[in-house]
Amino acid sequence: MADVTLTVDGKRITAPAGTLLIEACRKAGIEIPAFCYYPGLSLQAACRMCLVRIEKMPKLQTACTTPVAEGMIVATETDEIKQARKSMLELVLANHPLDCPVCDAGGECELQDMTFKYGAGGSKFIDIKNHRDEQQWSPVVFFDRPRCILCYRCVRVCNEGMDVAALGIQQRNASSVIAPNDKTELDCEQCGMCIDICPVGALTSDTYRYKTRPWEMTHIGTICTHCGDGCKTTLGLRRSEDGMQIVRGDNRDKSGLNGDFLCVKGRYAFDFSDSPERLTLPLVRQEDGHFETVSWDVAIKAVARGFREIRDTRGGSSIGVIGSTRITNEENYLLQKFARGTLGTGHIDHHRTTDYVSFIRALGGQKGRFASISDTASAPAVLLIGNDPTEQHPLLAWNLRTNVRQNRTRLYIVNHREIKLTRQAKAFVQIGSDSYAAFASFLSGGDSTAFGESATSLRDALRQEPNLVVIFGSELRGADVETLVKFGLSLPDTKFACLGDYVNSRGAADMGLYPDLLPGYVPVAASGAMQTEYGERFPAQPGMDLASMFEAAGRGQIAGMYIVGDDPVERLGIAPETLRDTFVVVQDMFLTGTAKLADVVLPTASLYEKSGTVTNTYGDLQGVKKAADRAGVRTDLELIVRIADAMGHDVRKLVPFGKGVRADMGQSRGAQSGEADRHAIWLAAHNLEPKLSPFDPNALLDEIQRVVAGYDFDRIDLLAGSSPQVQPASAELVQIAPPSSRPDSIQPSGDTLFTSGTLGHYSEKLNEVQAFQEKKALVAAD
C-alpha cells in the first residue's frame, strides 16, 4: 500500500497505509508501551497503556488500534499521557498481589518494567484485594489469578495461534478470570505458549515454578533436541553439584526460525538430562557378564583394542557402525569417516525415518527447490501430503496456521485421516492409508477417477499454483517420491520439503550415514577424491544396512558393532542372542535396550551439552550451543577421536586440525604423493584459520563445508545465528542408484506431540503429560 507521512513527537515518519500507529512508531524507534498488543494476534485494546494524543481527535486514542493516516500529528509522551498511564497502572495493580519477591516472573515482568517506568508507586485503593488461590490446570500449566492483568494474550494465542481454544475469559470487570476449557483443567496440546506470552507471572510452568530467580540463571539459546523442525529453545541454566543444570526451557529469545513458537517438548522435555538414570561413568562388561564402572582410559583402551583386533584379524567389513539422528553433523560426519577410514567398513547406517535419498535423487540437478521452514510461513500455497504436523512437526503446523490466518495461504491437504490442520485447509482430500503412491501418480496425470470429484478439483487447483510448496511425509517413499516431485516440477517455482522425525535426521542423511552413500549423497562407487582423503582402508563396496547388519551379526559375520546414540535393539525388537558373539560398543546417555547388551558403554553428552551444527528436515542448518554440563559424560565427537587415537590412527587424518600438517612435499608414495594440502588451500580461500584442537567441532565443519555437496553456505550466516539452508542436490550429483535396488529400511518413529523416541522415555515431565493426556482421551471417549 502507498506510504503515508505523519508526525510523531515532532518527528516526521512514513509508514505504509494501514499500518497500526503502534507498529509505525516502533519501527521509527518510538516505543509505545502496551500489555495486550501483540504482533500477529488480533487486537484487543484492553490494557489502555498505549494511549496517545492525536490532534483533532477527542480524548486519548489507543495506538494499537489506530491505523496511521496522512498528516496525523501524534504525541506519545506528554504529562497528560503519563498521567493516564500511571492511572491505568494503578487500576491494574488494584488487585495485584505484588508478590514479586517470590513470583517466577520477578525480574523479567512487563508489569514491573512498566510500573518502574510510568510510576504508580502509591495507590488510592485501600480495599482488601480480591484473592483466588493458585490453580493447577495440567502437569505443566499453573494459573495464579491475582497476578493476571487481563491482557487476553494467552486466550488469543491459544485461539488464533494454536487453534486449540482451551482458554476463555469468564465473569466480568474486576472479577474476570481466565478459565480453562475442561472444568478446572486444560484439554489442550500443552504447548505452554500461554505461559510464554504472559507478560506477568499469572501463568507459570511446573518445571520452573518457584525454582530460581531469572537473574540467577545463564540463558543459552540452542536447538531443541526433539523433532525434525529444529526450533530454538532458550535454556535457563543454574550451577548444580555436578555441572550446569537446565532449570527452564522457553522461547524468550525469539530470534530462532520458530519465531514465537515452541511446543511441549522444546519447553519441558529437557529434564532427561537430569534423569537419575543418566549414565556418567563408562561401563565395561566383565568375564562374569556384569558391568563394571571403569575409568575413561580403561574404557577407551578396551574399545580400541576390541575394534583393532577385529579389524586386523577379520577385516573391517566385520564391523558395523550405527549413527544417530540426535547428534551433530560434525559427529555424524566424523563417525562415518571413522567407520570408513579407520575401521575400514562400509556397514554404516542410522535410523531412517523418511526417504531423504529418493527425495534428493528426485531433485538431482535442481537448484533452489528446497523449501525452508520459513517458506512454510510465507508461501502463497502449500500442498501437504501425509504426516500430521500437529503431532509430529508442531512448528510446521504453527507456520501453516499462521500463514493461512495472516496471508490467506491456500492450504491443500491430502491425508488418510482428518488431521487437525484440515480446519485451515482450502481443500482436503481423504484417501486410503495405502493410497499415497496411487495419489502421487494421480497428481502427475492420468484420468483415474478413483479418488473422486474432490481430488480432481484439487489437482486442477494445484495446476494453477505458481509458487506451490509441496510437503510430504514418510508415507511416500522411493519411486513415489519421484512421481510427486516430477508433478511439482511441472509447475513453475515449486519448492519441496520431506518430513523426517528427529532433530538431525536430515543431517545424518546428509552426512552419509548410509551403507551405499557418502556424505552429500555421493554413491560409494563414485567416491573420487573422498576415497583418497579417507585413506587406504576406504571400502570400495557399499555395505549392509541397519537391519542386515543385525542379521549378519546373528550369522556370526559381524564381529563388532559401534552404536552411537541409537537404540535399534529395542526399536526393532532384536533378540539378545543375535549379539552374543559380537563385540558391541554403545555410546548413549542411558542404559537403553541396546546398551544393556553392550560390552562397553560410553556415557555421552546430550545435544544440550555440546556444540556443533544440526540440519532440520527442511535443510536449515543451525548452530547448537553448549548449554548444560554434566560431570562425567563426554561428547560423541571426543569419544570417536579418542578411540581412533587409541587405535593408533593418525588423528590429524581424521580431524583436520593444526597447521599445514597434511601437505605432502613429495616424501610419500601413493595417490596423494606430491599433492598440496587441499584442506589448507580451502581454509585459506575461505579466510578461515586452522583449528587448534581435534575436539573442536569447527575443524570438522570446515571439512564438511569443503566436501559435502550443498554445505557450501557462508560461514558468517551461521556465526551470526541465522539458519543457512543447505541444498545437497547439486547439479554435479552422480546419479544415485534407483530405489528399487534398496531394501526398504525406513521406519517412521510414530511419535506424537508427547513422545520423542527413546529419549522421550527418560523425560519424566513428558511421561507425566502423556499420562494426563491419555486420561483425558479416555474420559472423552466415554
Partner: protein, 174 residues
C-alpha cells in the same frame, strides 16, 4: 492414538428442550449472518424453560451454534441474570439502585431476607423462593420495585410485599 483433541466437545444426541423450543432454536440460528449472534436469546429461552442453564443445555446450545462449551460459558458468566444453578420457583428480585434505595429498597431486601430466611442468590429449602438483590429494573417511577420472575410489583412497603409473597406461596402449593 492421537492425544490432541480435534473436536473439543462431543455432539449431544437429540435435544433436551421441548419440541417447540427446539423448533424455535432451529429458526433462530438462521436469522443472523453469524450463527453465534443467536447465543444470548437462546440462553435466555433455555433458562426460561429449564429454570437454569444446565451442563446439558450449555452443551446443546454450543453444538447448535458450533461453538465450544467454553465459548458459551465465557458469555453466560458475563451476565448476572443467567444462572447455572436452579433458582426457586419464584425468583424474587429486589432493586436496591438509587431510586428504590431512596424509597426503602434496601429495607425491602432486608425484610425479604428475614421473611424468607435466605440471602442474596439463595433458595429456600422447599425450592419455592429464591432471592436476589438486583440493579435497576427500570421501574424508578414506582419505586421501590420488585420483580418476581417476569412480573413487576411496585410502590411497595414491607406489608404489601408480605401479602404478595403470601400469594405466591399459596400459588406454589396449588
Amino acid at each position: 492414538m492421537s492425544l490432541t483433541n480435534i473436536s473439543v466437545d462431543k455432539k449431544p444426541e437429540g435435544t433436551i428442550f421441548s419440541p417447540e423450543l427446539a423448533a424455535r432454536f432451529d429458526k433462530l440460528v438462521t436469522l443472523y449472518p453469524m450463527k453465534r449472534s443467536a447465543l444470548i436469546p437462546m440462553l435466555l429461552y433455555a433458562q426460561d424453560e429449564i429454570g437454569y442453564l444446565s451442563d446439558a443445555a450449555i452443551a446443546e446450545i454450543a453444538h447448535r451454534l458450533q461453538l465450544t462449551v467454553l465459548d458459551v460459558r465465557n458469555v453466560l458468566s458475563y451476565y448476572s441474570m443467567l444462572r447455572t444453578r436452579p433458582a426457586g420457583k419464584f425468583n424474587v428480585q429486589v432493586c436496591t439502585n438509587i431510586s428504590c434505595m431512596l424509597r426503602g429498597g434496601q429495607e425491602l431486601f432486608e425484610h425479604c431476607e428475614r421473611q424468607l430466611g435466605i440471602g442474596h442468590k439463595q433458595t429456600t429449602p422447599d425450592g419455592v423462593f429464591s432471592l436476589e438483590e438486583v440493579e435497576c429494573i427500570g421501574a424508578c417511577s414506582w419505586a421501590p420495585a420488585v420483580q418476581v420472575n417476569y412480573d413487576f410489583h411496585d410502590n411497595l412497603t414491607p406489608e404489601t410485599l408480605d401479602a404478595i409473597l403470601a400469594e405466591y406461596r399459596s400459588k406454589a402449593s396449588q
